[in-house]
């Protein structure tokens, strides 16, 4: 297990470096510098500004400097938000986004597994068809369609819940965004759980258990549940990526002051350092979480470690 863990951890480092280098290069390949838009300055002053921001150095030097900053948690200054560094912006927005993301993830797992199990246990029944149909709709209809329609129905027409972040209590304002964010993942997880549970239930060892007279509930509890949940674990990586992507839309629609909203503002304002910082932050987060998932997989499924 230790060998497996070390392999995985050292495998993640090059990926991370590659991602950072790629993002960094993309931004630096941009035509024009960050100060071009401002009024024309004497060349000496321009040179001084370039030196202050280390723009006069060669690209590798700048990259090493940026990496050094990243290690210390410093993403550099924002080009648009004058008084803030990118780290401050991310740091201020993180708690809100994390609250949203973690809640959506929990909801997705609980609701998705429950729906998937229900469907699998009554395979080909009406309930099964209903769950599969709804899941397909959930996968097909994107967050940016579901979220506004939910606002229209629950906030504008029924007026049960607030339409935006500023308009509600700390709990009521969370409900719509979390549900909107979780819906596609609920659908994916339900489909995955259903398929894998059906697979496990038709396996030989479950048939043996059944022939020994075990009740369905104990078969599921002691024999089927754990192996059926393994594919779910490997879906966690894409699920986290999906939640991150979705959070950008959801934060924009509900006016939630999270990282996603800064990301969009940054993208529309061409705030290079902010967008670069958030991309690297998201990528790092994903790689780390995937690493955790990989390690968990290794702990739960001994067969994986051997490879």
């Amino acid at each position: 297990m230790l060998r497996y863990a070390l392999l995985r951890i050292f495998g993640a480092i090059p990926t991370l470096l590659l991602v950072i280098a790629l993002a960094f290069l993309m931004v630096h390949a941009a035509p024009g510098g960050p100060f071009d838009a401002e009024r024309v300055l004497p060349p000496e002053i321009e040179e001084n500004i370039a030196r202050a921001y280390h723009l006069d150095e060669s690209l590798p030097q700048q990259f090493i400097r940026y990496l050094g900053g990243l290690v210390r948690g410093d993403f550099g200054p924002s080009y648009r938000y004058r008084d803030y560094s990118v780290s401050e912006l991310i740091g201020n927005a993180l708690p809100v986004s994390m609250q949203l993301g973690v809640l959506a993830m929990l909801l997705a797992i609980v609701a998705g597994v429950a729906a998937g199990l229900t469907a699998a246990l009554s395979k080909n029944s009406f309930i099964d068809r209903l769950v599969t149909g709804i899941a397909m709709t959930g996968i097909s209809v994107p967050v940016f369609v579901v979220a506004p329609v939910m606002v229209l129905v629950f906030a504008v027409y029924l007026q049960w819940l607030p339409a935006s972040w500023t308009g509600g209590t700390s709990i009521s304002r969370l409900i719509l965004p979390v549900v909107a964010l979780a819906l596609p993942q609920i659908a994916y997880i339900a489909r995955l759980t259903r398929a894998s549970m059906i697979g496990v239930l038709s396996s030989d060892y479950v048939r043996t258990a059944r022939s020994q007279g075990l009740r369905t509930i104990s078969i599921i509890r002691y024999h089927a549940l754990k192996p059926a949940m393994l594919p779910l674990l490997s879906y966690m990586g894409p699920a986290i990526a999906g939640i991150l992507t979705g959070s950008v839309v959801v934060e924009e629609i509900f006016g939630i002051p999270g990282i996603g909203q800064f990301f969009i503002r940054g993208a529309l304002n061409r705030d290079y350092t902010l967008v670069l910082g958030i991309v690297i932050f998201y990528a790092t987060l994903l790689i780390l979480l995937n690493l955790v998932v990989d390690l968990l997989y290794g702990i739960l499924d001994p067969r994986i470690r051997g490879r």
């Binding site: 397909m136 097909s140 940016f144 329609v149 606002v151 229209l152 839309v249 940054g266």
Partner: protein, 284 residues
């Protein structure tokens, strides 16, 4: 083995599947309306009419879906959105298909260390937030259409590569590949002439699943204002426009949303149906 022969059994089996027939008919119908509709309507997608903004859908004046906040006809704009969305998605899928098939076929056929390294790279890329890189690209370079295609295509090839590799591994064992190798056909020759034609069935099935993903990415970008630029439009951009007017004019949100949802649902059901038809294990 030619390319046409590989696809024939797929078509034959698909004709008996209700889901496939219904979904492909709906999609063809939508595509036909999107192509022909604008020619029949008296309105142009970019012409504004400030006298009649936010009109309810009505047959008089031929505003079948009403008008938006600038008085532009939503019917024509929705059809333009459908056209652009489908166009972007199909081109992007072709890009991802090209990359995925080449990558998967090479990894699968060459095998060994090359295969191991190539597939580890795919694993590593799998959970990457590519969409954020696309946004970064959009920020850095001027937003242009070509970039959207390439970027979306570059995201979606991973699944294709995995599936093609799996198929290639089993095709490699077949006698006709041995025979080709025996008479001295080169490795690129075998991959091009003998492996890829046999992959076509699988590729067609997965392409129908790649298209909705590409639609999602495109409309996501357009929704955020990073995709197609005004007065051009796509379904994502229309949904975005609808959001800002939804309290007074909900049809501006609902109509494009429903069209987008129907298209995505049809593609997903179509892909699922085709996969069931081609999967020998699923004979139900």
């Amino acid at each position: 083995m030619n390319y046409l022969a590989a696809i024939k059994p797929l078509i034959r089996k698909s004709r008996d599947n209700k889901t496939i027939v219904v979904c492909s008919s709906i999609l063809l119908l939508i595509a036909a309306v999107a192509l022909i509709g604008p020619l029949l309507s008296p309105h142009h997608y970019a012409s504004t009419d400030f006298e009649n903004p936010l009109m309810l859908p009505s047959a008089s004046g031929w505003h079948l879906f009403g008008t938006d906040d600038l008085g532009r006809d939503l019917f024509v704009r929705t059809l333009l959105g459908v056209k652009i969305t489908l166009f972007v998605a199909i081109i992007a899928s072709c890009v991802s298909l090209g990359i995925g098939v080449a990558y998967g076929a090479i990894a699968g056929y060459v095998g060994g260390t090359v295969d191991a390294v190539m597939m580890r790279a795919v694993d590593a890329l799998y959970a990457m937030p590519f969409i954020f890189f696309v946004i970064l690209l959009m920020v850095v370079f001027e937003r242009n259409f070509l970039l959207i295609f390439v970027a979306i295509g570059a995201i979606n090839w991973l699944d294709m590569a995995r599936i093609v590799r799996g198929q290639t591994l089993s095709l490699k064992q077949r006698e006709f590949v041995d025979a080709a190798r025996l008479i001295g056909v080169s490795t690129p020759g075998i991959i091009l002439r003998h492996i890829t034609p046999n992959l076509l069935g699988v590729v067609v099935v997965y392409m129908t699943l790649t298209i909705p993903q590409a639609i999602l990415v495109e409309s996501f970008l357009s929704f955020l204002g990073l995709g197609v630029q005004e007065p051009q439009t796509s379904l994502g951009a229309l949904v975005n426009g609808g959001v800002s007017n939804m309290e007074g004019a909900p049809w501006l949100l609902l109509i494009p949303s429903i069209v987008l949802a129907v298209i995505l649902l049809c593609f997903n059901f179509l892909g699922d149906g085709l996969r069931d038809v081609t999967d020998p294990k699923k004979k139900t």
